[in-house]
Symmetry: C2
Subunit: 382 residues, 2 copies
């Protein structure tokens, strides 16, 4: 087990914490507040941010969409450059925070920001940013990763840099009160798959990482079962903190990681605008069944420790069934049939996108070739 | 649930990581290496540190004892001031790292360093320090706390400050190869009690904190059962990472904490030089039995989730028995009879020390008065 790890994001967790941004950002710094479609104006979050920033000089940029696009974000990049912005506050969910990371990095680069996603430019310098989280799901509030879409070419790619990790993250569970059910459920599923990507690989005897991952999975299972208690303070706080821990780097230190479900799922979102979390639920069960032999040992461990299943020769198979049943219990589909072309063309399109992005071999063993992906899609797409 | 949390220590974990201090400390900074009794010269750790620092300007201070004393450490404080030291590297276990934190804080203070322990001086500035851990136990390598002893008055007190938290911690499990059994066992027990102090309190529905705490406790239980595999790389790595997580702040965010076992145990060490971990094993079972009613709910949860005990009316009692059995399985005593005075005087001495330090009410509910402490000691001391 070898790793270097630190998580430098200061977490301000709890009800009423939005006011902490007043101290978290130096009053001498010129601030850009970035947000999405305006829901923060209806639920009171915007007003709390305005109140906290009353002594700061700040401007705003709104309209960052779900699956944030380079096309929209480049307007914010121009704004940062024009106004010499010194600090960015992202107010929103994973899309707004991911988008703000792109803005923070691209604003310190003279070329086209998309170069960051194609690896032609490496972000080593960025405008510092902080996050006010409004939708627990992606963990973006305290990690260094971001996923950005280019509308023109229907591409969805990711990048990461320590320079764009938020300096602070405000996590007030009260902001979840006004979330649509669809987004709450997406958050639960997204966090679940984040843990799985770092856990359902091969055994490496990493007891802390496995134990933490299993604790988070059991939390999400319980929160799913208690979904009718979602208006409870403690339900909200537990989902918010669990989703954060699912992707802040900690459970993934020094262990193999998969992420094939994400890479394939991204293409569903890019091609057919499937919600990110739902794209994962579509891909994952078919992928696990396809890769069951290499993943058997961890699936058995998960069956025993997460689902409390009795040992049997087909424990790994039953674990995948339990995962699928978990999605179905939340009314999340595990197959896709909402394409306009025929099934073969739909599969061809996903495979072609993956190929064009250079994702020829995915997964912790690089065992998921394009041929394997095609097999997975044969089952996932109906 | 309300908290602010960050852990800024960069962890360099794994075999061969000692060399990473070369990059972790700027070559322009004048370094003081602090260590203990010289075991690092026998096990090769010293040589690795010397090799890594070959381009740095550095001096050393050795002789920090277990339960480090103000009297010894003040010599290092004088050295830091005399040589204008800009960075301290602590090479050792919790005692050396705690002692180095005292040195780092006291060196930036004009008065007597003991003022830090009596709260007459608050550390806001310190010489930056890093740690090379040689004994997994206290978690001091990535937290802001330290416990220091004043020999002259047989006092053992603690302080904490973000300014003394190590900038980095090197955790190479290979350093454990030469540890005496007694210290390995102490580390296991110390980490166990650290988790308990943050977990066996009252239920607050904090699912992540509880789930992580239970994962760590189960790890320590397993590592104790697998004690005959202690020469295995993976056993060592798992103990080292588990002990770190037990006291890096994460499992304690936003939840009640106890620490009464530590406060009472410290007096056993100050008065009779009982190993820190062993003082905890002496105090804890008697304390838990004394406080069983307020702790019943969490003890039952621990019985179920950590020890896999079946439900029963006396589940809390059986959980305490299981904890005690765990200590006994490691040949760690849970009672003390090694005093020279008679039992009543021994108890009086502990109570008098606690009183003189102002510890009149201990525990998460402030329910452990001196009278309750006396009851606990009646059982713990035989």
């Amino acid at each position: 087990m070898q790793f270097t790890y630190v998580n430098p994001t200061v977490i301000h967790f709890g009800q009423g914490q939005i006011k902490s941004i007043r101290q978290a950002v130096d009053v001498s710094q010129k601030v850009l507040v970035i947000y999405g479609g305006g829901s923060i104006k209806r639920n009171g979050v915007y007003d709390q941010v305005v109140e906290a920033l009353q002594n700061h000089t700040w401007i705003e940029f709104s309209g960052v969409e779900a699956n944030p696009t380079k096309e929209t974000l480049d307007k914010a990049v121009a704004l940062v450059k024009e106004h010499n912005i010194e600090f960015i506050i992202a107010v929103g969910g994973g899309s707004v925070i991911d988008g703000s990371k792109y803005v923070a990095g691209a604003a310190k680069y003279q070329g086209d920001g998309w170069d960051i996603l194609t690896r032609e430019h490496t972000v080593t310098e960025a405008v510092p940013l902080g996050a006010v989280l409004t939708l627990p799901a992606t963990g973006s509030e305290s990690n260094m990763g971001a996923v950005i879409t280019r509308k023109a070419t229907q591409e969805k790619l990711s990048f990461g840099s320590p320079a764009v990790q938020p300096k602070f993250a405000v996590m007030d569970p009260d902001v979840m009160k006004s979330l649509p059910e669809r987004q709450l459920l997406n958050g639960l599923v997204d966090a679940w798959v984040h843990v799985c990507e770092q856990y359902i690989t091969m055994p490496t005897d990493a007891m802390v990482q496995d134990g933490y991952a299993e604790a988070l999975l059991k939390n999400l299972l319980t929160l799913g079962k208690q979904y009718n208690q979602r208006d409870n303070d403690s339900w909200r706080a537990n989902l918010m903190w669990t989703a954060n821990q699912a992707l802040n780097g900690l459970i993934g230190v020094g262990v193999p990681q998969d992420w094939a479900t994400h890479m394939i799922g991204h293409e569903f979102t890019a091609l057919w605008h499937v919600d990110h979390a739902r794209s994962l639920a579509i891909v994952q069960p078919s992928l696990l069944r396809n890769q069951i032999e290499v993943k058997r040992s961890k699936l058995e461990q998960m069956g025993k420790n997460v689902f409390a299943l009795e040992a049997s020769a087909d424990l790994a198979e039953r674990t995948i069934e339990a995962i699928e049943a978990f999605y179905h219990s939340l009314n999340i589909a595990t197959h896709f049939n909402d394409y306009q072309e025929n099934k073969t063309t739909a599969i061809d399109n996903v495979v072609a996108q993956l190929e064009s992005h250079g994702y020829l071999k995915l997964g912790e063993n690089k065992a998921i070739t394009l041929e394997k992906t095609r097999e997975i899609l044969e089952s996932a797409i109906q």
